[in-house]
Amino acid sequence: MATDELFYVVDFVNVGGLPMPLPLEITYSDGSVEKLTIPAEIWRYNNEKVSKLFVTDKEMVKIALDPHLALADADRTNNQFPREVVKSRFKLFKVKEEPNIMRQSETGEKDGGSKR
């Protein structure tokens, strides 16, 4: 049997312990993005580790888990393949806030109260 299709096997590990659906965002080499959600039932045979096969016509360049922050996930640093730098909470805290017009109008402050 000859086929031009590409086969990708993606391994998922349940680090936190709670079986949850797998909302995925797959980016292909032509720039197109596919979104799909795999139901939590995928964990029904093994709730620690699961492998999923993707058969595609296009080359896959990136796959991200939970792109819309829908899961109760404390560690977002392991949600992309290939890995990406994710801002830590500490860094986020230190980032200077954009001026907040709503707050400015409330307090009369010009800098929008970026003290936090």
């Binding site: 049997m1 086929t3 299709e5 096997v9 799909l36 959600t37 795999i38 139901p39 039932e41 995928i42 029904r44 045979y45 093994n46 709730n47 620690e48 699961v50 492998s51 999923k52 096969l53 058969v55």
Partner: protein, 317 residues
């Protein structure tokens, strides 16, 4: 040589046991879980069901009677069906909606069955597994529901959720009342050999013809029970069904050179069987053993069409 075989057998048994022991260490059924009491899993006893699980004094069970007309499109490997269901609410509750099972929808690409299929083990990956994967991927499966109407032909509001369909009733169905509705549908039949599905067709290249084994093929009312309410979980491709009791009147239209086997009582023997076949059928009715009605032998296969005493086929040429 015989002596040698025994130690080998013992060794393999030991290995199997060892494998089981390692498996038992992880997951469910270990430690406290293994000794958990069943009471919490069983339904609470009541008038309908005793604590032993047996029917109680107020036991009830729903009923659904079917009149189904179905036609096989041999050229396109497709079923075209229309059914009228008479649903009797024998429960003590009023129902505002009904759930209908659509098992064929598991072949849609967005079904839970397809989405939650795990990757095969590529270390021992047979050719057939690849064939199965690709055949399911290319198959345009699922019920094409064309009509959901009540007994007067008025459209019914309904919502399809993958392998389940909820039909909203125009007014609540009181206890003891019946509701008649009709569903028209079409669906493609899957390649049963490549996909290894429960039902499907097999193609014989030498003769350029098909044999069809049809299962899970018509929309059917889900069970409504005292212990679980509507049994409306998604069909994941494995497992069995709880269904309601009911009478079936079935009209199957197939090309003239086909023979149908099914459970039931054949109504139009004269129209669908040859004189010889009718004679054999008569013998079969009182025969102690299985009796062959048609001796057609499929090439490439040893399967023959037989009819067991008491079980007769339906067909219409």
């Amino acid at each position: 040589m015989k002596r040698l075989a025994i130690p080998c057998l013992l060794l393999s048994t030991c290995l199997l046991l060892a494998a089981n022991a390692t498996q038992a260490k992880q997951g469910e059924g270990t430690g406290a879980e293994a000794f958990a009491q069943l009471e919490q899993l069983l339904p609470t006893p009541g008038d309908a069901r005793t604590a032993s699980g047996a029917p109680g004094p107020e036991y009830w069970q729903q009923r659904a009677d079917y009149v189904i007309r179905v036609e096989l499109d041999d050229a396109k490997q497709r079923l075209i069906g229309s059914e009228t269901i008479t649903y009797q609410n024998l429960s003590p509750h009023a129902l505002t909606y009904l759930w209908v099972q659509l098992e064929q929808n598991r072949f849609r690409p967005d079904s839970d069955d397809m989405l939650t299929a795990r990757a095969p083990n590529f270390e021992e990956f047979p050719y057939r597994a690849l064939e199965q994967l690709l055949s399911r991927r290319d198959f345009e499966g699922g019920f094409d529901i064309q009509k959901v109407v009540d007994g007067d032909g008025e459209p019914l509001s309904h919502r399809i959720v993958k392998t389940m369909m909820r039909i909203d009733l125009p007014e609540p169905l009181a206890s003891g009342e019946s509701f008649v509705f009709q569903i028209d549908w079409e669906n493609n039949i899957i390649d049963g050999i490549a996909s290894r599905a429960r039902g499907g067709y097999e193609y014989f290249e030498e003769d350029d013809n098909y044999i069809y084994e049809i299962a899970q093929w018509y929309p059917r009312v889900a069970a409504y029970t005292d212990y679980d309410g509507w049994v409306n979980k998604q069909f994941l491709g494995r497992g069995e069904f709880t269904l309601e009791l009911g009478d079936y009147r079935l009209e199957i239209t197939v090309p003239g050179d086909h023979i149908v086997t099914a459970t039931g009582v054949l109504q139009n023997t004269d129209e669908v069987l040859t004189a010889t076949q009718r004679e054999r059928l008569e013998v079969a009715e009182t025969a102690a053993k299985s009796w062959r009605i048609s001796t057609t032998v499929m090439t490439n296969s040893t399967s023959r069409l037989t009819i067991t005493p008491g079980i007769r086929s339906f067909s219409r040429g």
